[in-house]
């Protein structure tokens, strides 16, 4: 127990006496607390509380208990809950107290409810009426309490019920009510943005409220809104600037001051909003320069709160369109932070540096000694932040020192989240800047052994992909692989029991694939090592599968050993292992088959993936002829299961999809992929052959999939890396200045030698690069491991090369560099006039393959429903003068389907990309047109599309070897939506080569709405009725009724039908029933009734989010009408 509590216990009686009223009521609580404090053991405490709880339980259910007593009991049960004991019996009484008690009891009741119940709790439904009543109460305190509880816990589905009342409160005469109402609406906006969409105009009113408090509250909403779509609120910039000016100028009542700083919270909120508005927008930014300058100037007092404002100011200055004068001031500010003796400020200084170092690398140089000091700081948080900063300034020269520091930190770190985070960064740096092979392998070994099984899957996947794909030179690749093999064999020879599973998987794959490169090691020795691993108990069954497939690859010629092994495993409990053992035995007995299935050292590029699985066609048609049920995609199956058993919830309907998805998971993560499916096919004579073929396919799948399918995180990690990239472009100029500045500095005698040394090794890249640029050697060293087919790596090189070429012409001021940096697109534009020597080697031999794909067209469309994406490149020659109508280029089988207009997505001097949405029943087809706008051929055009939210969608890049001048290539992607989202954005890129070796990237993005995924659901009224009763999630809302022409209901429904592709089932009197579905998946039923001048809409669907989305689009459709 707390010493303080103990000491003061003696003084307690007098303490109690000094208090009035309140103390008497909670006397029992005081006794309880007192007796708990006197106890010595946890056990005693437990039994005491149990006793207390049962006494309370009895008391609450006794009819004689008064409201006042109830309130006291509630306080006690809150206390017990806080100590971690369960007092759930009192929950219902808390609601009762809020319902029935006087104001005082209500207050405690509401507090108890907000502490006990969280948003999803079922008992909250019972509170709705009480809240409604209190919201309407004329008593201010009751209304305040109701608003508070609404913002704290309120069931999402019930928001429509209280929304009108809360809305009304926006015009309440008391500012405290208005303020609470605004915050409650903010909360609603966060949990159900669609429902408060219609009150945006009222938010504007709140922004103009005469009470500064209400205005401040409304900024929370605006910050959120502007974050989502800054362009829609540019018109408010002037108002925000004016408000900030007034605040900074001290125009607010003194009451808003905090430690004599005027309304700091308000200032910071405004600064954030302004930085969002001014980002990449020069004219908007210009509006705010003056006030930012003023804020920087005013915030001079030495207090935490002014530093908080300064920090936000600095961030804003560096986010918006740059202005030299402000940048200079902000940089000075950062200096104050970094050099401050206060550790909190130092921390923020490091954060600010991390943020700005991408704009202005010389700042890091200025503070190098401080950074070094922070690196050895005893505080874990400071160290971590310093490493974050170093990560941003890493280049090829200082990478080994920085990675060493990061690894040191990782070794002493125990926080999982930090390990995952930092290990990922080390891997990224290693891949990008590795000075040589042995260093790279060694570093990755460290990452794998330190990060262990916490590491994200994509780190190991990327690493393996890098080894497998290699670079341009085969010799170098083999050397790297050889290093890896050597290093792993050494590790495996030692004690392997402590190695993380993920690491063992990586090692076994590499050894299996490349151990033949090492000629001085006997294959049987390798097999022995792997078998030793298999015997270890600590090895998980997933890892065993990896090891076994490695063994399969190297088993050639070692029949005895292998047969023995296969024998021992074939009795394993694990079916996948058994399956593998069988395959292993088959292959080792038939060396010809082995050679054919697993050719040693074959380049991956030669492998072809038949993603349509057409080799199964014969088997499928046979099975169908024999009466098997046709294949249905998982989502369809799930839905049917749901429909069949409306009452039967999760446990049953889940089983089938779950087992299927687990299959697909294993095939992504482990090399067992198609052995599962070949096992399902069950054709014993073909079994081994198919299994073999499937292993082949697996490798191919990895390669093609790696990019857009299952490595989305990596994707973002790489897109975040422009941080380094631009700094490389900026460095030559920025550093040169810094170097000049540093040169005349005399060596400070106080600094210890080794710190200086460390500094020079850490910041070496920054300064040496500048000196080389002085000499005119401009080219920065290219990343060592560059993946061939990766658009990212290549865009990096292309932009850095064009960046350096631009540098020579740009004037050498830091201002100018920042300018050109901010407009990254400038850098990416490739100057025209390259010679177009055709590339001699066709990348993947896709040219031949194209025909094959065309032939399979009929088969593939059959399988389209199964989440498969068909990508069909066909190049169409056409006359540029008639190029405007791209819809004529739609493939013949899509022409007849409903489709949208063609919208241009993006273009550059050589290519333009447009898209068209084609609505197919089971999917949305996104057709992408790539037109060559030059007269010359463009080579290796590859399209890549990412869309995180459409999760079940499989996307594949589309590659065209050569796009002739003035021609258009068409490809399409089938997109499926399982989880409804109001809007889904997709991004993508087209990479192409005008000149061999120079890959250009053109990125595009766009949004799709749920409306694109909604299809009419044709049902009869009877079926509708049945379905209606079986659906669980419903939403009700009043919509606008179109009254301009004829029957309002008919007009409105027709308008909805036109925009949303709904099916109107029936209209009976003033009611209409409408049905639609999400692609071929979940249905959504709409029941509409004319209610005065509004349309009361009631939606039901098995998917909770679908009605919301549809409602949102209905609202929009009607608003636009």
């Amino acid at each position: 127990m707390s010493d303080v509590v103990e000491k003061t216990l003696t003084a307690l009686p007098s303490l109690f006496d000094s208090q009035t009223g309140a103390a008497k009521i909670s006397n029992r609580l005081k006794q309880l607390i007192k007796s708990i404090t006197e106890l010595t053991s946890k056990h005693d405490e437990e039994s005491l509380i149990k006793q207390e709880l049962s006494a309370m339980k009895e008391q609450v259910s006794a009819p004689s208990t008064s409201m006042k007593q109830m309130r006291e009991i509630m306080v006690r049960s809150m206390y017990c809950e806080m100590l971690g004991y369960d007092a759930s019996f009192s929950y219902i009484h808390a609601i009762k107290l809020a319902q029935q008690g006087g104001v005082m009891e209500k207050r405690v009741g509401y507090l108890a409810v907000s502490l006990f119940l969280s948003e999803g709790h079922e008992l909250l439904l019972l509170l709705v009426n009480t809240v409604l009543k209190d919201l309407q109460s004329t008593n201010l305190i009751e209304a305040c309490m109701a608003l508070t509880v609404v913002a704290q816990v309120f069931p999402k589905d019930m928001i429509p019920a209280v929304l009108p009342l809360v809305e009304d409160k926006l015009s309440h005469p008391k500012e405290i009510i208005r303020r609470k109402a605004v915050l409650a609406l903010y909360k609603f906006y966060l949990i159900a943005p669609n429902q408060v969409q219609h009150i945006h105009a009222k938010f504007r009113k709140a922004l103009c409220d005469k009470d500064p408090g209400v205005m401040t509250s409304s900024l929370h909403i605006y910050l959120q809104l502007i974050q989502e779509s800054p362009d829609a609120y540019k018109d408010l910039t002037g108002s925000f600037v004016t408000i900030l000016k007034q605040v900074v100028g001290g125009k607010l009542p003194l009451d808003f001051n905090y430690h004599s700083v005027p309304a700091p919270w308000l200032q910071i909120q405004l600064l954030r909003i302004l930085s969002l508005l001014g980002r990449d927008d020069q004219s908007t930014s210009e509006l705010m320069y003056e006030v930012l300058d003023e804020s920087l100037r005013r915030a001079e007092m030495n207090h935490n709160i002014t530093y908080a404002i300064l920090f936000e100011c600095v961030k804003a200055v560096y986010t918006i369109h740059p202005k030299a004068e402000l940048l200079e001031k902000a940089a000075r500010c950062i200096g104050n932070f970094v050099l401050s003796p206060k550790i909190n400020l130092k921390y923020l200084g490091l954060k600010a540096l991390t943020y700005v170092v991408q704009h202005d690398a010389k700042l890091a140089l200025q503070h190098q000694m401080t950074i070094i000091e922070c690196l050895d700081h005893s505080d874990f948080t400071i160290k971590r932040e310093t490493l974050e900063l170093l990560f941003r300034i890493t280049n090829a020269q200082n990478v080994s020192v920085i990675v060493e520091k990061m690894l040191d930190f990782l070794r002493s770190c125990s926080d999982e989240h930090t390990i995952i985070h930092l290990a990922g960064k080390v891997a990224e740096l290693a891949e990008k800047f590795a000075p040589d092979n042995s260093w790279f392998i060694q570093t990755m070994n460290d990452v794998f052994s330190i990060g262990g099984d916490l590491l994200q899957q994509d780190i190991s996947n990327n690493f393996l992909r890098l080894l497998a794909e290699g670079s341009e030179s085969k010799e170098e690749d083999d050397q790297l692989r050889l290093y890896a093999v050597d290093s792993y064999l050494t590790l495996l020879n030692g004690d392997a029991s402590h190695l993380p599973q993920r690491f063992i998987q990586v090692m076994s794959w590499v050894v299996g694939e490349y151990s033949h490169l090492q000629e001085c090691v006997d294959q049987s020795e390798v097999i022995r090592l792997l078998m030793k691993l298999l015997e270890q108990k600590s090895v998980s069954s997933e890892t065993r599968v990896w090891i076994l497939s490695a063994l399969t690859k190297i088993s050639d010629g070692q029949t005895d050993l292998i047969l023995e092994l296969a024998e021992s495993i074939s009795s394993s409990q694990d079916t996948i292992l058994r399956q593998q053992a069988h395959e292993l035995r088959h292959l080792s007995l038939d060396s010809k088959l082995h050679e054919w299935v697993l050719p040693r050292g074959a380049a991956w590029d030669d492998m072809e993936v038949d993603s349509s699985l057409s080799f199964l066609d014969g088997f499928v048609s046979e099975a169908l002829a024999a009466g098997a049920a046709p294949y249905k995609p998982p989502h369809q199956r799930q839905e049917e299961l749901c429909e069949q058993r409306a009452l039967n919830l999760e446990p049953y309907s889940f089983s089938l999809p779950v087992s299927l998805s687990s299959c697909s998971i294993t095939d992504r993560h482990s090399p067992t992929l198609l052995s599962v499916s070949s096992g399902l096919s069950g054709n014993s004579t073909e079994l081994s052959q198919k299994a073999g073929a499937s292993t082949l396919i697996l490798e191919g799948v990895k390669r093609v999939w790696g990019k857009d399918g299952y490595l989305p995180q990596k994707e973002t990690a790489v897109t975040a890396s422009p941080v380094d990239e631009p700094s490389a472009a900026v460095q030559p100029v920025g550093q040169q200045e810094a170097a000049e500045r540093l040169e005349p500095q005399p060596e400070p005698s106080t600094q210890t030698n080794d710190k200086q040394q460390l500094a020079s090794s850490l910041f070496v890249g920054l300064s040496t690069q500048s000196s080389t640029s002085l000499l005119g050697k401009s080219e920065a060293p290219p990343p060592r491991f560059r993946k061939k087919p990766r658009p990212h790596g290549s865009s990096l090189s292309s932009s850095s090369s064009s960046g350096t070429s631009e540098k020579s012409s740009s004037s050498r001021t830091s201002h100018n560099t920042t300018d050109s940096f901010l407009y990254g697109s400038l850098l990416e534009e490739e100057p025209a006039g390259f010679d177009h020597t055709p590339k001699s080697i066709t990348a993947n031999g896709l040219g031949q393959n194209k025909d094959v794909k065309e032939d399979r067209r009929t088969n593939t469309s059959q399988i389209l429903g199964s989440d498969m994406v068909i990508v069909r490149p066909n190049t169409i020659q056409h006359n540029p003068s008639t190029s405007s109508d791209l819809t004529t280029l739609l493939p013949a089988d899509l022409k007849d389907l409903p489709h949208s207009d063609v919208i241009s997505l993006t273009s550059d001097p050589s290519l333009s990309v447009s898209s068209c949405r084609v609505f197919r029943d089971e999917a949305l087809l996104l057709v992408i047109f790539i037109s060559n706008s030059t007269e010359t051929d463009i080579r290796d055009v590859a399209v890549q599309l990412n869309c995180d939210q459409l999760e079940t969608v499989s996307l594949r890049g589309n590659i065209v070897d050569c796009l002739e001048g003035r021609s258009v290539s068409v490809c399409h992607y089938a997109l499926l939506m399982d989880d409804p989202h109001t809007n889904v954005s997709f991004t993508g890129s087209v990479s192409y080569q005008i000149q061999p070796g120079h890959t250009n990237t053109l990125s595009f993005s766009g949004t799709l709405s749920t409306a694109d995924f909604i299809r009419p659901l044709v049902v009869t009224t009877d079926e509708y009725g049945k379905l209606w009763l079986s659906l669980s999630h419903d939403v009700k809302q009043n919509l606008k009724l179109l009254t301009d022409a004829g029957d309002p209901l008919q007009t409105t429904l027709n308008a909805l039908k036109d925009t949303l592709q709904l099916h109107i089932v029936d209209i009976i009197g003033s009611e209409g029933i409408v049905a639609c579905r999400l692609l071929s998946g979940a249905p959504c039923l709409l029941h509409c009734r004319v209610n005065g001048s509004a349309l009361a809409m009631w939606l039901r669907s098995p998917l909770p989010a679908l009605p919301d989305c549809i409602l949102y689009h209905c609202q929009r459709a009607l608003a636009q009408h």
Partner: protein, 154 residues
């Protein structure tokens, strides 16, 4: 936006907990446990900030009591420190030279004050006077309920 605010003693006893986002009971317990162990393990003269998962943790010790809150990534740590400080000031104004015992024995009051100060994880009212005024107004009810009912509030 603030995700949670915890008050705990040097011994790791929870004194007050406020969750601004819905979290299952299990996660709450885990957070409370992690926070107390992490914060109590901090050495003197370290900064007041930490990372936990993807949240920023800002904490400060006042006498025997730790105030600790979890923030989103874009939030300003220094500002959060000032929020904690302002809350302490409010408690101090209400209780008069506040100590841990005041909060233990009147924790519901501490909650009421917090509810007037923060709402949905955002600052609702920064003025000490206004908060004191509205808390007082509600507290008055206790003594003079009848009197209060006969005249308008505020």
């Amino acid at each position: 936006m603030m995700h949670f605010l915890l008050l705990f003693s040097r011994q790791g006893k929870l004194r007050l907990q406020k969750w601004f986002l819905p979290l299952p009971e299990r996660d709450r317990k885990k957070i409370v446990k992690d926070m107390t162990t992490m914060v109590l393990a901090r050495k003197p003269r370290t900064c007041n900030f930490m990372h936990w998962k993807d949240l920023k943790i800002v904490y400060k010790r006042y006498a025997s009591l730790y105030f600790c809150c979890g923030l989103e990534n874009q939030d300003n740590e220094l500002l959060a420190l000032e929020i904690l400080h302002r809350y302490v000031e409010l408690l101090d104004k209400y209780f008069g030279n506040v100590c841990e015992l005041d909060i233990i024995f009147n924790f519901e009051k501490a909650y009421f004050i917090l509810d007037e100060f923060l709402m949905g994880g955002e600052i609702q009212e920064t003025s000490k006077q206004s908060i004191a005024k509205s808390i007082e107004a509600s507290d008055m009810l206790q003594e003079t309920m009848e009197e209060y009912m006969s005249k308008p509030a505020f």
